[in-house]
Amino acid sequence: MTTTAIPPEARHAPAAASKRRPKREREGAAWVFLSPWVLGAIVLTLLPMAVSLYLSFTDYDLFNPPKWVGLRNYVQMFTEDPRYWRSVVTTLTYVVIAVPLQLALALVVALALKGMKRGKGFYRSAFYAPSLLGASMSIALVWRAVFNDGGTVDNLLGTGGWVNRPGWALLAVALLTVWQFGAPMVIFLAGLQQIPAELYEAAAVDGAGKWRQFLSVTVPMLSPVLFFNLVLQTIQAFQVFTPAFAVSAGKGGPADSTLVYTMYLYDRGFVASHMGYASAMAWVLLLVIGIVTAVLFRTSRSWVFYASEGDR
């Protein structure tokens, strides 16, 4: 920044003379700090992505060298594999059920806690707890038992065990995700607290009721946080694995109704040793998540409001 102000001859002066370390040395220091990350990005991210792209065009079983088969994995996936489509539909259904429900609940609870004077900290922590515990195998096993024949849900609702019924088992998995609404709730709550109180006061002076204030102040001011939660939770939901694995005893049943995408990928790659096919699946997942994220970003222009935009 300031280097432009220094006359050319001074710029070439020895470092000691100017009391300023040469730029190159500081740049070198930056790369030293960055080196683990750079190594990881190349060896554990970029290289694997390239390898998996290559493998997706091959037959590979881990033991024999990969055999080039062109687009066959993709063709087979899209035209000859009903279980693949089953897993796609299952995952999309799961995402569409779990993400909106989870975010809606997170928002409602955050709004309820927002103005609270006493007990807010307690509720915030208590509602957040499932977000940490819920990802564990322990809770996934509890879920299976509670939603099984003779489990609590069966006893309370008389619906029989959800876990054994196609169509209901996936709902049980989705509810485990919804149960973990604490993480987006905490983010909503932090976002709500950053909305200046004057905005509400001004709206009230203009005669806006609670509902009008919610629509005209809260929603636009909260939209960046809503967007952040939406993108993050959607990306995570596409990758759901542990609860589906536990609820279906590792098989994706009943009738493949909980065979989510990553479980089928695991099945093809690590159980059936079709690493090429699994790589093709991984690349389609990458593309789909990329497209969904891009679409969310694009539509966000019309509904996400950045307060700082006026400053730019």
Partner: protein, 286 residues
Amino acid sequence: MTSTTVAHKPVRWGRVALHVGCLLALLVMLYPLAWLLATSLKPADEVIASLDLLPGHLEWSNYETALAGVNDVSIWRLLGNSLLIAGGAVLGNVISCSLAAYAFARLRFRFRGPLFAFMIATIMLPHHAVLIPQYIIFNQLGLVNTYWPLILPKFLATEAFFVFLIVQFMRGLPRELEEAARIDGCGPFRSFFQVVLPLTRPALITTAIFTFIWTWNDFFTQLIYLFDPDKFTLTLALRSFVDASSTSAFGPMFALSVIALLPIVLFFLAFQRFLVEGMASSGVKG
């Protein structure tokens, strides 16, 4: 409630309703945890038969069975394996992510903008896109069925979420401190270790706790990399109960579940403030 000011104020029914609603919601939400604890203490014949949360009599033998181990592997071994992996991950993430974060937050270098954008993009990268080739690489190196694939990546700052978290935190620190340090003759390394790092402690603690809990809970990576029962973690040992549908295994299974959950619960109770605030600040501060 008994204070004198209450007498002058009308009871705010809205507020009361709010608390009642929140408490009811909490009751429903915490039910699975209560169920887990209760079932871990129930004798086999009571597990399915009754809706009662409280066991007829406490069946401590479930815990004895769980503590005796799974698949002939002692529980201490499983616990030790879990701790080793989680501990290694914590160390790796705290070191590598704080180094990368300092460069992104405070140093200037060529391609900083594009590299930062790339780092952010990897937060969104699905794990499965790199998983198979990573597995193949570790397989070629003969490291499958060891702990290296679970620990080594953490030393290479592959969890960009934490790099981002620490960057956000470091950007909030006053620059004057480093400038003062520089005038006193500190190079970037000394000012990192002696000025910035101590101030970054809250973000580092958040990183450490989240890494511990996420690694402890992780199932997928452990499932594909570890085969030998004596290398299993608690999570993987629980997996052997996944197929079991006989209710006789229920008590010990949930006793082991409680044991596996205990460290997370303790961490949560001890550090809830850091956890909740760490989560909040990751999303909000621009």
